[in-house]
Structures are given as structure tokens and as C-alpha cells.
Subunit: 380 residues, 2 copies
């Protein structure tokens, strides 16, 4: 039973991680999905995985002419191409498939929106054609890329931002939201400018910070790195990212990111000046102020499921490396009737143990600590 | 049965989180522990928790005179005071308890070592007295502070750096290492200069980076923060830190940290210049180069138990918020015979589900994915 409100068939242009995942998810929901990718092998992999059928038409000819041998034209086109060419593929799709809703999934929305608007202004597209474009951004992903890593449930519970333009046709917006909901995502409505400013802060800045910290480690002796704890690991986790992709994202969102980087540089300059003479009057206050501002900003990050941040307490249990230990701890947590709100492992370099950090409601911490200790667990 | 090689009784000066945890751990190992803290309430809490007995002597009088009513003088003194006064308390202890080994646990080692050396040079201490001081640094901690949060097993499997000076008496070094081992830590021997350069990079830089990123969020609208994912959370996790403590640490290690910050500023300046004109020739290569340098640095961070980094694959399972789900997943992982190498939860703002990210040996990933899917779990 195909999703209502989603004009079919769906054509996905670009079968990387996200495009292929969208295909898998939509097919699982009963939709009829076609795939197309300039790379025959990427497309073949996506087909083999089950993300859709090969689009039978020729997408290389001049836009505006019915592609040869196309069969049923798509009702919805999802453009999942690399950011640099997304605008071009969106415009091509609007021309090639009149009446189809065209949505993209690029991480930066203003750039594509402006390209479509420019095409309307210069007459490449009519206003009615331009109105069928809706910019969107699914905020899901993973450290691997390419169709092989695709999963249909990648978007479950992820935010999916839908940026309706002033001129977007309501049915196009509805179709874009239907794609997102069908894939299990939560729709966030935002205009493109707000979206780009938001992701500059909550996605692009962290990426840059992780890269700036990590690049300092290139020459670090192994003995120094052996002291690494979760502080270093946490701040650098996302540094292992695809340079080619991120070049496109950062370049596309440069104006918004720059505003933020100017502020960071100002803070860094101030910190450096202070640390060049930490015993000068007011120096310590300066440093403390940066830390306090960091605390204030950190406290605003939403916690689990949008709950107030830092509403939980952490119970840390030592687990050794034998199979089944973590499961055993959690069974005892369940027996104690305490819900696990969050979970992470803390590793130490050297010993064959780890610390399992279990977040629980603050009021249950003592009870859980006692219950687990009574079962013989070492609670740190 | 008291730990061999640890001269007793042990006097712990400073009953914050670390001092109290050391007391708890040493007492659990059978050692005789005294406590002293300038704050009577902090000391009382530590005593109530069971970290040791109140030190009967008067530590406020002039050093060099036997404290009134002291009873058995300590064989080992652990100075766990705030960083700013550590040098002073170390020197006081060397004078007050001739023959006792004195070790400190401050995060920055050079500063205290230099203060002790200066006291030898100016005659406050004899060379023999100075030789009984050993700087150490247990690299363990937690987000809360104060004696109430103390746990005796805080140091289990944590690195504990011991910085023997050129002039340190071998028996003092042995005693310091015995404290660390008794508490379950792994001893890392390093000289003070190498230690300070190391922690500047792997501990202080991440702290600064987290604070710089977090401080940008102070005015961010809630709708923007609602899009936050693990990228932001990871890079800012340690930003929630005690400004007073960190002011002391950063000021004490300013020279080493500055060297690193100059490099970061250079990278940031270069990135800003590039992003001011991202279409200029070479601009994209510049950005890609920073990202690639970040990748190279990141790849050097040791993985679990010092294993090569990134040796594991991640299997992500969707779990809902009902009690026992996580435990149930892990039981099925255990039934499949696959060891859990690492574990973390990925939260989404909005829905009542989470993603459980299970790291396993890369070669077992497909098998585990199949096994869990067969049990009805949604593997992303």
C-alpha cells in the first residue's frame, strides 16, 4: 500500500548513502522507486541492495524533451546528488518532468534555492515550474558513505528540515513532508536562511572544531596519545570525515559559517592574550569568563528527546572484557526497575576493562547504585 | 592487609573528589588513612563516607615543628589540594613530616616541581627533603566534584602518570607508584615537561575547544538547537566544567597550551581567509587540506585498550523507550556470540526512540546485523 500524498513513481537521482537509503525506506513503505546515478556501478549496487528499479529513460539529453523510452514519468523526484551539482540537477528535473515535485536533500539550502530562483528570473524556468521545487535536509548520516552502507531506517526519528520557499506550491511542500514522514523522520519547518544559520552552528562549527583539534595531533608522540581519555575522543569523534564532501558543504555555507568563525577567533585571540600573561590583573577572570560562557551555551543543548538538558545522573559500572557482561549489568538494572535514559562506554588505554556509564533519572541514582553493588558490580 | 611498599599511615591533604576517592580506595586496600582539609565540612563529609580518620595534629602552625598532638607521623602524604596551593602544601608537608614521601596529584606537573626546586635552591628545603617529593597525575575524574561524588574505584584502569624528577629518591618514586597501583591505575612514567606538553594537547586543548564551541550557543534560538545531533553533543560534552578549577589548570600550563593555540589560530586564520573567497583558486584545496589533516590526526588516537584506532564496525539498532529493550538487544548480541567492543546511544530530539550503536570487530558486522534482524530488531 503506497504512501498517500506521495506522487508516484519516485525517481531518486544520486545513489550514494542518502539516496539509496531513501530508496530502501520508500520501497519498504510500498512506494514505486526508480534510481539513476551517473556512475553505473553506484547505481547497480543500489539496485542490487533493493533500493529501486533502474530508471529506463535517458537523463543526459537536453532538458525539456521527454527522455527517450521513459515510461511513466515520475511524480516526485528526489535529488540526492553531491552538493555542488544539486542546483543543476534540480533545475534539470523541473524541466525534464513538468508537473513532478522536485525536492533535494543537500546540507545547505540557500544556495540551491537561489539557483532555482535565478533560473526563474532568467526565464530558464517558469514561475510554476520553480514552485514545484522544495528544499529539504534530512539530518541523519553515518561515518561511512556510499550505497553499500545504506539502510532504509537511517531516517527513523531523525530531524528532516523542510524549507518551503515563499513561492513553493502547497502540494509540493506536502509531498516533501510526506517523503520525510514515510521514512520515519520528524519534520521541522524552517526557511532556508534560518536553516543555513542553524546548521552552520550545530553541525558545521563542530566539524571545524573537531578538525582543528585533530590536526594538532599529527606529530604527537604515541606516549602522549596513550594518555587520551574521552575528552579528546569526544571532541574529535567527527573529525574522521570525507574531505571532499565537507569542502562542498563549508564552501556552500561560507557566509553563515564565517560569522561564527569571526566570533570564535575573537574568543581565541582573547584567550591567547590572557594566557601570554596569566598573572596580569583580570587575566584569570577573563579565562573563567570564557569557561562560564561555555557552560551557559552547553546548558542550552537539549537533552534526550528534547528534555531539559542534564536532567539525568550517571551511574558508572566497571565491566571487564568477557562477553555478556554489559548485557548482565543491564539485566540487573532492569530487575531494579530503573530505566536506562542514556548509555555510553568509557575506555581506558591499557587495561582490559571499561566503564559503562548509565544515565538514569537523578532521583533513582542512589537506589540503582545500591542495587548494583548488592549484585557484586563495582560501581565507580 | 596493608599494601606493601606504601609507607603508612597515609595522610591525604585535601578532601575534594580526588582526595576522598584516594582515601576510599586505599582504605579498601587495607591502608591506614588520615584526612585533613581546610574546610571542616568537606573533611567531615569525607570522614563520614569512610575515606579516613581525622588527622589529629594541627597543620596550621609553622612548618618544621612537630604538629601538636599528632600521634604517628604519616609515612606518605598525598597532596590533593587545589592546583594553586599545591606547591605550598607540598613544601609544608616535606618540612612538617621529615622522612615522609610526599606526592601530589595536580594536573600540571612542571609548576609544582619548579616550586619545590626553588625551595631547595633558596634553602627552605634541603636536597634530601626535596628528593622525597614526587609529582604525579591520576587521569581520572568525573563531571561532578566534591567528596560526595567520590568513589574508591575512580582510578581503576585509569592512567596515573608518575613524574620522577632527576633528584627524586627511588623509595619515593616506588611509594608513589604503589599508591597508583593499589588504586588499580596503570602507571605511566614520564618527565614533568613531557607530561605537561602531553596534557596540554590531549586534555587542555579539547577543553578549550569545547568551551569555544559552546560559548557560541548562548543566544541560539531553541528551534535551531532542536536540530542538534551527536556532532554538537560530542564536541561540547566536556564544556560543562568548573571554571574555577580550569582557570588554575590553564594558567599553570599556559606556556605549553599557548604553543598549541598559536597553531590552532594559524589554521583558523587560514580557514577564515579561504572561506572569505571560497571560489578563489586553491581555496577548496585549502579547506580539503585542513579536513585531511584532521583525518590524519584523528587516525592516531588509540582505540579501545590501546588497539589500533578504528578497528571496529558499528551496528546501529533502533530501541524504543520501554524498560529492558537495551538489555534485550545485548542479550541477543551475546546469543549471536559477538563481543561488544564499544557502546553508545544516539538520541534524537523529538521521538521516543534512540539508536544503540554497538561496535564489533569489523568481520562480525554482517553476521550480527543478520542475527539481530532475524530477531526482529530494526538495524539501521
Amino acid at each position: 500500500m503506497a504512501p498517500r500524498g506521495l506522487p508516484e513513481p519516485v525517481l531518486i537521482r544520486g545513489t550514494g548513502l542518502l539516496g539509496t537509503s531513501i530508496g530502501l525506506g520508500l520501497r519498504a513503505a510500498g512506494a514505486d522507486v526508480y534510481l539513476a546515478d551517473p556512475s553505473p556501478s553506484a547505481q547497480a549496487v543500489a539496485e542490487d541492495i533493493g533500493a529501486g528499479r533502474p530508471y529506463p529513460g535517458d537523463l543526459t539529453g537536453t532538458p525539456g524533451q521527454e527522455p527517450a523510452g521513459a515510461g511513466t514519468p515520475p511524480g516526485t523526484v528526489v535529488v540526492a546528488s553531491p552538493p555542488d551539482v544539486t542546483g543543476q540537477v534540480v533545475i534539470d528535473s523541473l524541466l525534464r518532468f513538468p508537473g513532478a515535485v522536485v525536492l533535494d536533500i543537500a546540507s545547505v539550502k540557500g544556495q540551491v534555492q537561489r539557483q532555482v530562483q535565478a533560473a526563474v528570473v532568467d526565464g530558464t524556468l517558469t514561475g510554476a515550474q520553480g514552485a514545484l521545487y522544495v528544499g529539504t535536509h534530512p539530518m541523519a548520516g553515518r561515518e561511512r558513505s556510499g550505497p553499500v552502507a545504506a539502510r532504509g531506517q537511517l531516517f527513523t526519528a531523525a530531524p528532516w528540515v523542510v524549507c518551503a520557499g515563499e513561492d513553493s506550491a502547497p502540494e509540493a511542500v506536502a509531498a516533501a513532508e510526506e517523503v520525510a514522514r514515510t521514512l520515519g523522520a520528524t519534520v521541522h519547518r524552517m526557511d532556508a536562511a534560518d536553516h543555513d544559520a542553524s546548521v552552520a552552528l550545530i553541525s558545521h562549527l563542530p566539524q571545524i572544531a573537531a578538525s582543528l583539534v585533530s590536526s594538532r595531533l599529527q606529530e604527537t608522540p604515541a606516549a602522549s596519545l596513550a594518555l587520551s581519555g574521552n575528552g579528546l575522543r569526544d571532541t574529535t569523534r567527527i573529525a574522521a570525515s570525507d574531505p571532499q564532501l565537507w569542502v562542498q558543504i563549508l564552501a556552500a555555507n561560507a557566509p553563515d559559517i564565517l560569522q561564527i568563525l569571526y566570533g570564535v577567533r575573537q574568543d581565541l585571540d582573547r584567550l591567547i592574550a590572557t594566557m601570554e600573561d596569566p598573572s596580569a590583573p583580570g587575566a584569570r577572570l577573563d579565562i573563567a569568563q570564557l569557561m562560564a560562557e561555555g557552560n551557559a551555551g552547553h546548558a542550552r543543548i537539549p537533552g534526550k528527546h528534547g528534555a531539559p538538558p542534564q536532567a539525568f545522573a550517571v551511574v558508572t559500572v566497571i565491566v571487564d572484557d568477557t562477553p555478556g557482561q554489559i548485557s548482565a549489568v543491564l539485566q540487573d538494572v532492569g530487575t531494579a526497575g530503573v530505566n536506562v535514559e542514556d548509555l555510553r562506554m568509557d575506555h581506558s588505554a591499557g587495561y582490559e576493562v571499561g566503564m559503562l556509564e548509565i544515565s538514569v533519572l537523578a532521583g533513582r541514582k542512589q537506589e540503582l547504585t545500591d542495587a548494583l553493588s548488592a549484585q557484586g558490580w563495582k560501581v565507580v
